[in-house]
Amino acid sequence: MTDKIDIAGATTSTTTADAAGAPSPAATSPGAGATRRDVLKGIGAGAALAAGGLILGPGFVRYAQAQSSAPIKIGFQVHRTGIGAAYGRWYERTTNAAVKLINEQGGINGRPVEIVAEDDGTDPRRGAEVIEKFATQHKVDVAFGTLFSHVVIGSAPRAGELKLPYFVVSEGHHVASTKMNRYTFQPGITDVRSQVISMAPWIAGNLGKKVTMIYPDFAFGYDHRDYFSEAIKAQGGEVTTLIPVPPTETSFTRYFPNIPMDTEVLYHVMVGPAVLTFVKELGEHFGSQRPELFGFIDSLEAVDLASPGLEFLEGTHFWEGYPRYAGANPSAFDTFYREKVGVDANGASVSDAADISTYSHMFGCWETLYVLKQAMEAAGYQGPADKAKLVEATEALTEFAESNEHPQGAKVFNGKIHQVFGSQSITKVTGGKAELVHKTSIEDGMYEPEGDYTTMAL
């Protein structure tokens, strides 16, 4: 689950070696247009330009405008490369669509919003560096948009130290655990603990009470294991078998014999590219005699449910943060949101039906930006000097009604733990599409707060 920056860079250099290598003989051979002296001059000029760029980088350009008309700058920490790239692409599209709309509606406090995007390579080290760049070079007002938990956890300490409000869209439990800091918020997407516990009542009531869990053997999987085990017990059910799968695994056949015969529900949450193999091998193992299957859509975000190899999922159930398929009766808010972001009724790009969105997560970018707008307006935010006021104004928010600004549904915000709570959807795969069968209440996903950020110093 790490970046591929330098490895990918090295690979790129290998694949482009011929193209780059071609000019060198010409540059050094007698009679050619360019001499070594020219090349050295060129390198010198390049170095001077780079040094110039270093000195006159964006951080040093001073705004001539009065502060009232200067844009509000939002640093967007985006996974453009590395394992999160598919998510990052859609996070970026959603963010750009929301910012366009916010600016059309007059911006925030009368000022336009400007997105400053930086690739974090889905890597915690680069993530922390990007936060430093936002705070001290771009001098953004807030940082925003991170998805992968390890990048959030690697970056949050720096955001806290630099006193840069940091609005993540990660669904991790890290923010709500109150182990981050006063400046880190998750107001646009629910956390994994809330998602998992709100599934338990419906699973126990409709699918069965004897559950086997297959989950990745790392932190994300442990959240599922711990919170679901506890929640299903409260419903009179039990997790009879736990099957952790190492993240490096590429074949899963040897794990399936561990699933007990009397299992009623197989709860699976597999992330990463091996999910297609996982489903195919699961089908080969069970044939037509399978227990009920319940999975988290995370593994199939940006993947077409009608892909060859996924036929075995027909008739099985999924958690979705926000149903990808619009269904027969979408809300007016959902239709509005799809149109603005450029997503069709099947959750694919309007310009390419094969380009499937990360629909269950990316709405978090849209909603977070509107929370930010609301908080900045409540704080009368004028510039970086008002960051503490912005933190307090965000903590004071309590509810968001279902609307164009919050198309996924109504939400409740807990300012003490900086985390939002909302409803979840359970869908059933029917004819290669996921149809909504149940929507949880917000209360289903509530739990006792684990701490209180508001007592920490600003």
Binding site: D6, G53, T136, H150, I153, P157, K179, D217
Partner: protein, 328 residues
């Protein structure tokens, strides 16, 4: 059998080399007062990672042993410091020492086993050790929080020392601590490569059979190199965890075995300052290129290809070959 005497470098050249290194460190010391905030913060991180690369260079550049497992040593330091700080509330100084001790022990163990092999086999064995270490950080997820990692609280990073309150979140202090660590790594490397042990390491790199025949215990010399290299790398890892308040298993992944190799090759293997320059260039290459294009990895790749074409021995390696033969 007594070891034959090895000629010391000529005094004039030695002075020049020491002057250069002291000059570079003085420049880094002065840089914090003139650099804009962002570059001072970036340089802090670069200096820590450069310390890692300097440690790597001792083994790869001077001894000629290509390790693909240095992420293990970096991670040993990282977790050696972070785990006691996170679980037992140790403050930074003892946690830092614990990180160094963990790196020393891991390097000694890995070295003792891996040095039974040579060449490609050494590369593979170190790689396997590092992969085992990486998977261990995931396997013991209950302790390490695996890929998500741990955040160290401010409490362990703020402590009393000689009556003064030290806060590792202070950017100025952090810069100077990173600089001190880098200076120590450079000084150790300089001392080692200029003493008989360093000459033996270079001799092993050039011709191990001949070195053995001359009466040197090459296994012991190589073990010293692995342990020194691993411990310096671990010190960088421990400092990284404590200064930036985060430890996660991505720092134990294969990338962190490749990075120091790349930085060292870029700056010039077997030059003391090469890894520092390589780390600095790679950082700014990615940082600047990503500001101009979303396809920044292509730019990084092209620049690396160009550097390999024009500086086949790394930047300082080529500089030494062509212009400054006295460069250590």
């Amino acid at each position: 059998m007594s070891a034959p005497a090895i000629a010391a470098p000529r005094k004039g050249l030695a002075d020049k080399a020491i002057l250069l290194h002291v000059g570079v460190l003085a420049l880094l010391l002065a840089a914090q007062f003139v650099l804009p905030e962002y570059h001072a913060l970036s340089l802090t991180r670069v200096m820590l990672l450069a310390t890692f690369a300097v440690g790597y260079n001792l083994l790869f550049g001077y001894t000629g042993l290509l390790s693909l497992g240095h992420a293990l040593f970096f991670a040993a330091g990282l977790y050696g410091a972070a785990l006691p700080a996170y679980h037992f509330g140790w403050t930074a100084p003892p946690a830092f020492l614990a990180g160094i001790a963990a790196g020393f022990l891991v390097a000694l163990t890995v070295g003792a086993v891996a040095l039974r092999t040579t060449g490609v086999a050494f590369m593979i064995v170190t790689l396997m050790f590092a992969q085992a270490g990486y998977l261990a950080t995931l396997y013991f997820g209950n302790v390490t929080r695996g890929d998500e990692g741990l955040v160290l609280t401010d409490a362990v990073r703020r402590f009393e020392l000689l009556g003064l309150t030290v806060d590792l979140a202070d950017p100025g202090l952090r810069y100077n601590l990173a600089l001190a660590l880098l200076a120590a790594a450079i000084a150790i490397t300089l001392v080692v490569v200029r003493r008989p042990i360093g000459r033996v390491l270079v001799a092993i790199r050039e011709n191990e059979a001949r070195t053995l025949m001359l009466g040197y215990d090459s296994y012991r010399a190589k073990l010293v190199a692995v342990v020194l290299s691993g411990t310096i790398s671990a010190a960088a890892g421990a400092a990284y965890a404590l200064l930036f308040a985060y430890a996660g298993s991505s720092f134990a992944s294969i990338h962190y075995s490749i990075y120091p190799l790349l930085w060292t090759l870029l700056g010039g293997a077997a030059t003391v300052l090469g890894p520092v320059l390589g780390t600095l260039i790679m950082f700014y290459l990615i940082d600047l290129a990503s500001g101009f294009t979303t396809a920044h990895l292509v730019v990084v790749g092209l620049v690396l290809v160009a550097l390999v074409l024009f500086f086949p021995k790394g930047i300082l390696g080529t500089v030494r070959e062509r212009w400054l033969p006295w460069l250590p």
